[in-house]
Amino acid sequence: MEKIIEYKDVTFRYEGEDEAHILPLTINGVTLNLEKGSFVAVLGRNGSGKSTLAKLTNAIHLPESGQVLVEGLDTRDEKNTDLIRRKVGMVFQNPDNQIVATIVEDDVAFGPENLGIEPKEIRRRVDDALKAVGMYDFRLAEPHKLSGGQKQRVAIAGILAMQTDSIVLDEPTAMLDPIGRREVLSTVLRLNRERGITVLMITHFMEEAAQAERVIVLDKGKVFLDGSPRDVFTQSEALKRCGLDVPQATGLAKALADSGIKIKTDVLNEEECIDAILTAYKE
């Protein structure tokens, strides 16, 4: 598979208040390859460096040592910054702080307008992007009248209209209610499947990560676990050590197994869990 974002032995630290206060490394030697068209979730407790990892992809943060390559372009080279931002779009945690315009469709148009695209083409892209996230009917609405989930979908449409190859989402659901969370996650999943957009999603919800193709667990700035959701979530002991939990369904199966019941423990969601319990019950 083609590599789209590469981290090569990356380290990064935030600047301290003055030179006497050197902060510890937030990212401490990360080497990762993200494949084109994949859906990758990054998990980790607060301060594990997961948000920083996201911000390294489009030159908001530059590595202290090592390299971050986006489609072969080095983020440290200033000449590449603009090009990289045309390839990697970013959605942030707080939907209020990334919407620029007072009307939904104007906001979605903001990115393409910055790229200097023809007005007619912008209109086409804006309509297409709003339809793709299911917000077309709200194109003339004022953002402050939308729910959190809707605002976040508008923010995603804003990136879609720029037609980037990848979207990096930095805890896009952290400030949303369960309904908003579901809306955003299903939108992102659909865009990944239907349009082949590479997704890197930072989250602290296990249930969300369970729907990704690949889960990376960060701890203290290092890659702690990396694999399919099934591989990662069956290692509940390891997850607990870095302050994370397994999805509820996995936890239940595990607890049943621990209490001596013969049951499959590599379940990820409720359906699989129900199946496993039924199978165990029949036996």
Binding site: G111, E118, G158
Partner: protein, 273 residues
Amino acid sequence: MVRDLTIGQYYPGDSLLHKTDPRVKIVLTLVFIFVIFFCKNFFSLGLMIAALLVGVFLSRVPLKMILKSMKAITFIIIITALLNLFYTTGGNVLVKYKFITITDTGVYTAIFVAVRILALIVGSTLLTYTTTPTMLTDAIEQLLKPLKVFHVPVHTLAMMMTLALRFIPTLIEEIDKIMNAQKARGADLESGGLLQRAKALVPILIPLFVSSFRRAYELAFAMECRCYTGGEGRTRMKQMKLKGLDSILIVGCAVLLGGVIALNLFFKTYNLG
């Protein structure tokens, strides 16, 4: 509370005035204000009022909304009218009581000034009722473009206006949250004298200030990530083009201006001030 808030006082509609190019509307409103001041007698003012009524009719904004916009300035109108009533000299004396003298010219001037102010207010609210804030800022940016020659950062100013408009509801929501948070901690915001109440605002303003900076910081990142580098090389999705309708309005206003001048000259003897 915030969900019902509409920024500016846009009245959504699909009327002729709504469809008019916002640049034309801004310029014509300015011309209208200028011409209103140019009216010297009741005949020319009457012509402008008639034109204004046609405008109100064309905008399809309900009269109730128009009256609402007048209500806010009733006090100013009354004060100005009274001042004109008492301080205008000349003409036949109608009332003379101690130091108060009222002349017929005074009465005419008072009515004239009041009608003039009303016309000004209605004229300019017609602009804000039929134009969204976004369209207004865009039009101002376009109109001020020539100032770029003098290194006036026109695009930056327009961007600042847009962002300010965008964040008004967000910040209102924030103030509400902070106030509730401080009330929950026992802050007393409603009692005491003026000074005490002003002091009680400090614990609200400081968190608001801090969070505004945090928002600004995040917003700047988000804008940069969407390739924003200022006005250079930017295109706009919504292009403003002058249409036939706009030309008709411009011509109409030119005719009005001619009419006002003619009436001013023709009824010279009735001119006030």
